[in-house]
């Protein structure tokens, strides 16, 4: 568990961590030269069949070949994917947060604030000196400027009296600024600790279930080598299962490296034989996930049909007045609901002939890609319009309260609108828009949407999803993360606690994003955007629930205009309507890198 303090992070030599990662890469190349030499100079050279020919000779050549294969797999899976990549990712993550600290700590010091408390939850408070300065009616110039009062010159004059009169405001302003720095510092350290813990887990998991080595030549070799070869054939499946169930400790980038290291035959076999281990995994390319998820979707619908038929059969033998009947009926209705939801999703993204459907919109129309789904809680659906692995611009929409699988059609409609807007805004770039219902959204405004737990529950999944997009996509792709309503809270929590891989954050109709300052989000403030129309009742949300309004001046970032719908419309949900072309066009410009 990371116990790094902010001072530790500030002083950390990230370059040394990166250099070690590069040293591992060089070492790997060195070792690969050894295996190459084994093959050319030994197996095909001095130990070739013209010099050494018999059953035993074949066995020995196989043994050397297996030794080289094993070492190459180890170099790829452990030395490269696990150790070198972990070091390089950790160096990048630490350096990013270190740079934030280099900006933040001088600000804290300049404003005469103190950092206090344990490394797990720092406080930024007014220093004793600043308290005294305000109490003695001698506030610092920066505070007078923020409050619009003239700094007293030491005499009891009108300015001094004004300061006395405004002292509550001065205190409030100073405390508010300290609170913003506190949010920022906590976010920086949360992300740094998260990166540190993830890096340590990736290394620790490496030696939990290591691959077997070939046996040594000697007694019982024949039996042992058969067991070894059997194990090797199951190795890829074992790795895939560990990755899918989240016990591998691999980051999406590392998953991607693992996937790319498999042979085409191994990838095909996993998609065919274990699509459930491929479809949901961030870091596996979109095409493979889509194929696997569609297979599982078909299979799940068939399985539900079978279960429904069996339950209906069983129901016929029960007394309709009995509790047993009522319970069985409820369970049956639940199965039918799940079946309808999945079939609805399938219909939406699939043509009658089973091929992926193209989304409505301007040319070139883009196909749907199924990146995830499920019936747990209120359901999950992650669908991309266009391939995010090849797109110039990718915009991911995170929905808010009451989002569920039954309503995935409405969510997809919004994503289609965003995709069309992006295409019209930037017809010469390739764009993809993703509907990300990858979390259990609140069902109600009161009390569920007032709670943070739904956002906290989604944070790690959203972090991994965005990192997966970066791992499988192009290096220069412009990534935008757009939230609506509670979806903005989800993005804010993920961004401050775990970190998200996004170039732009857009908050539409936000009740607050879990922080009072755009600086805490880990994305350049200039690329943080927020909008709310003037009739949206979301403005009634008090700051103490989810933090300050991100459209406010004090929050930082940029606010942009959205038009209202009709006066009697639900103006919390009119942002994708034709009545709000101003807001839609701005969002499209942001998502296509034009703002």
């Amino acid at each position: 568990m990371s116990e790094m303090t902010w001072e530790h992070l500030r002083d950390l030599d990230c370059g040394a961590v990166r250099t070690l990662g590069d040293t591992w890469k060089t070492y790997i190349d060195q070792q690969l030269a050894h295996t190459e030499r084994l093959r050319t100079d030994v197996i095909e050279g001095h130990l070739g069949t013209e010099h050494y020919e018999s059953d035993t000779a074949t066995q020995v050549r196989d043994q050397i070949g297996m030794t080289a294969d094993r070492y190459e797999d180890d170099l790829s899976d452990y030395a490269s994917t696990r150790i070198a990549t972990t070091l390089l990712e950790a160096a990048d993550a630490f350096e990013k947060e270190q740079n934030e600290l280099k900006e933040l700590v001088p600000l804290i010091e300049q404003h005469d604030f103190d950092i206090e408390g344990p490394h797990s939850e720092y406080d930024v408070n007014l220093s004793g000196g600043l308290h005294r300065a305000i109490l003695t009616l001698n506030p610092p110039q920066w505070l007078c400027d923020m409050c619009g009062v003239k700094k007293p010159d030491g005499f009891w004059d009108i300015d001094t009296l004004k300061v006395l009169f405004d002292s509550v405001d001065l205190y409030g302003t100073a405390i508010g600024l300290a609170g913003q720095y506190q949010d920022w510092l906590r976010a920086v350290m949360s992300r740094a600790h998260d990166a540190d813990d993830e890096a340590a887990a990736a290394l620790a998991e490496m030696h939990e279930n290591p691959a077997e080595l070939p046996p040594h030549l000697g007694a019982t070799y024949d039996d042992l080598v058969d067991d070894y070869k059997e194990g090797v054939t199951e190795e890829v499946a074992d790795e895939a299962e560990a990755i899918a169930d989240g016990t591998s400790g691999l980051s999406p980038e590392q998953v991607n490296q693992w996937w790319e290291g498999l042979s085409e035959t191994e990838r095909r076999a996993l998609i065919d034989e274990h699509p459930e281990w491929v479809g949901p995994v961030d870091g596996i390319p979109t095409e493979a996930r889509d194929t696997a998820n569609r297979t599982v979707l078909d299979r799940d619908i068939d399985a539900l049909d079978t279960r429904i038929a069996a339950e209906e059969q069983a129901l016929q033998g029960l007394d309709p007045e009995s509790d047993e009947y009522q319970n069985a009926k409820e369970a049956l209705d639940g199965l039918k609901g799940d079946r309808n939801d999945l079939a609805g999703l399938q219909d939406r993204i699939t043509n009658d002939d089973g091929t992926p459907r193209l989304a409505e919109g301007p040319e070139p129309q883009q196909p749907y890609y199924l990146l995830g789904f499920g019936t747990q809680d209120n359901g999950r659906a992650i669908v991309s319009i266009g391939n995010p692995d090849t797109a110039d611009n990718v915009n991911t929409l995170v929905p808010g309260t009451t989002a569920n699988l039954s309503g995935a059609g409405g969510l997809l409609h919004r994503a289609e609108t965003m995709q069309s807007d992006a295409q019209l805004s930037s017809p010469h770039t390739s764009n993809a828009t993703i509907a990300w219902l990858g979390y259990d959204a609140p069902d109600t405004i009161v009390p569920e949407a007032m709670q943070e737990r739904w956002a906290d529950g989604a944070s790690e999944d959203l972090e991994n999803f965005t990192e997966g997009l970066s791992a499988t996509g192009r290096e220069d792709t412009n990534h935008t993360l757009t939230g609506h309503s509670y979806g903005t809270t989800v993005i804010g929590h993920a961004a401050t606690k775990e970190g998200v891989d996004a170039d732009n954050l857009v908050f539409v109709a936000s009740p607050g994003v879990g922080t009072d300052t755009a600086s805490a989000l880990g994305v350049d403030e200039d690329n943080v955007w927020a909008t709310r129309n003037s009739l949206d009742p979301i403005h009634l949300t008090p700051d103490f629930l989810h933090g300050a309004d991100p459209t406010g001046d004090d929050f930082g970032g940029n606010a942009y205009h959205s038009d209202t719908g009709a006066w009697n419309a639900n103006n919390h949900s009119t942002y994708w309507d034709d009545t709000n072309m101003a807001g839609r066009e701005t969002l499209a410009d942001i998502a296509t890198g034009q703002r």
């Binding site: 961590v17 060195q30 035993t56 452990y78 290591p210």
Partner: protein, 123 residues
């Protein structure tokens, strides 16, 4: 070569293979040790900074050196020793043990101590 299934063998070529196997074994072993040292040196400041990565990195480097690079070297050594024996007298894979190397070919490779050879896993 009585008792073995060797139909064609050029002992000199086999001995050259042995030399390469032992050479790679030594180089890989030394390179893994250097890598582990670099790892430990880099892990120090990370541990001082109370990171979780520091101890995990040190353990990972040592694990790599002992179990994976070490495993590779062990396999090369074992195969090299087997071939060294093969070049002198026929022996089936299943009948081989490290003691055979010590008694048959150990004198040809004085840099490989018998104690070390006989302690090799699987030997």
């Amino acid at each position: 070569m009585a008792g073995a299934d060797v139909f064609a063998m050029d002992p000199d070529e086999v001995r050259k293979s042995v030399e390469i196997l032992f050479e790679i074994e030594a180089e890989a072993d030394s390179q893994a040790a250097s890598m582990a040292t670099a790892n430990t040196e880099a892990a120090g400041p990370l541990k001082d900074a109370a990171t979780a990565l520091g101890p995990a990195l040190e353990a990972a480097g040592e694990w790599w050196r002992v179990h994976r690079a070490g495993g590779f070297c062990g396999l090369l050594g074992n195969t090299g020793e087997y071939l060294a024996v093969c070049a002198e007298e026929a022996v089936e894979v299943d009948d081989y043990n490290a003691g055979t190397f010590a008694s048959v070919a150990g004198d040809l490779y004085p840099e490989r101590p018998n104690a070390n050879a006989s302690s090799r896993r699987g030997g």
